[in-house]
Symmetry: C2
Subunit: 204 residues, 2 copies
Amino acid sequence: MNNIPEKKIERLSLYRRRLMSESGSRSYIFSHELAGLTNSNAAQVRRDLMMIGYEGTPKKGYKVELLIKYIGVFLDPVEKQNVVIVGAGNLGHALLTFFKNRQPKLCLVAAFDIDPVKIGKDIGGTICHDLADLPRIIKEKNVKIGVISSTENAAAEIADIMINAGIKSIINFTCFPLSAPKGVFIEQIDITASFEKAAFFSKE
Amino acid sequence: MNNIPEKKIERLSLYRRRLMSESGSRSYIFSHELAGLTNSNAAQVRRDLMMIGYEGTPKKGYKVELLIKYIGVFLDPVEKQNVVIVGAGNLGHALLTFFKNRQPKLCLVAAFDIDPVKIGKDIGGTICHDLADLPRIIKEKNVKIGVISSTENAAAEIADIMINAGIKSIINFTCFPLSAPKGVFIEQIDITASFEKAAFFSKE
């Protein structure tokens, strides 16, 4: 899967969500219409969709319901994927509740923290464990996806533990720039940088 | 401010946070060291810091505390900037609590929703108002930064209201691809796409 560009996966994810919004109001869609809904262009849309093996007809375009299914077959894990999240502070808590019931193929199986007050508690429907149990639980539950919402100083160590225990994808919400070995996918989401950019560009 | 590349602002934001982590343990830092802490390279670091008007010495490098200050003068608003957030669901709620006390120069002044159950309530320390009051409050409080954490279908309309009322920067947490008029900064943070990418690249 690693030779497929990240941007393509991002676009497919976006196509699907825009298609889901549209599915109530139309049965077919043309590539230029889908492009309009996603700030893309028709040629790009056609190339992306050709890759997943579904071609529309020149006359009617793509069948919306079918296209949603094809994208799902391509993007989604075949079986539910287990996810862990390390760092059960405000953002961690938010992510735990935000993703509950939103991602049918992703299952948050455990949260982790080092704060004794949080350990053993139910946080947004997920039990918070001691960070020391992270490698064991990753292996036991065959977890492939890890979310880091700890302090930035802990991020590198947590990522190492995750990768050594078998995690293949990390979503890093700290500003610490993780570098990953080959075969591990890292996604950085630096919300603080986004707010600082917004503040900068709002200056007159 | 609009001719300064976004990536440069992102890097400065990252430099500052990494410098703040380091400030307890060292007084000076060389460009190659700061580059190492931020997955950058020394030439890039020097170019970025030259722009903000602070040059280190070849012998000792940059003074950490001074560099943090210089970056702040360049990046931060002179006075507190007011921020509003529209959509007080799980993510909105999370953002409200997450940013409390984290951004000394940003002040969350109001949240908005259309859900009568939420309107008038205190959510993470911020009062939730009726969406109908958005333009009035933006103008009254001279708000320049807006956060959208609504449903994707409402995003375009909310962005229009924000921009018409005077907002200059929007952070959009929905997947709806907003396009902005000249002079308005839009930052897209599509958390769902990040999770879908993580799931895809974790497939074996």
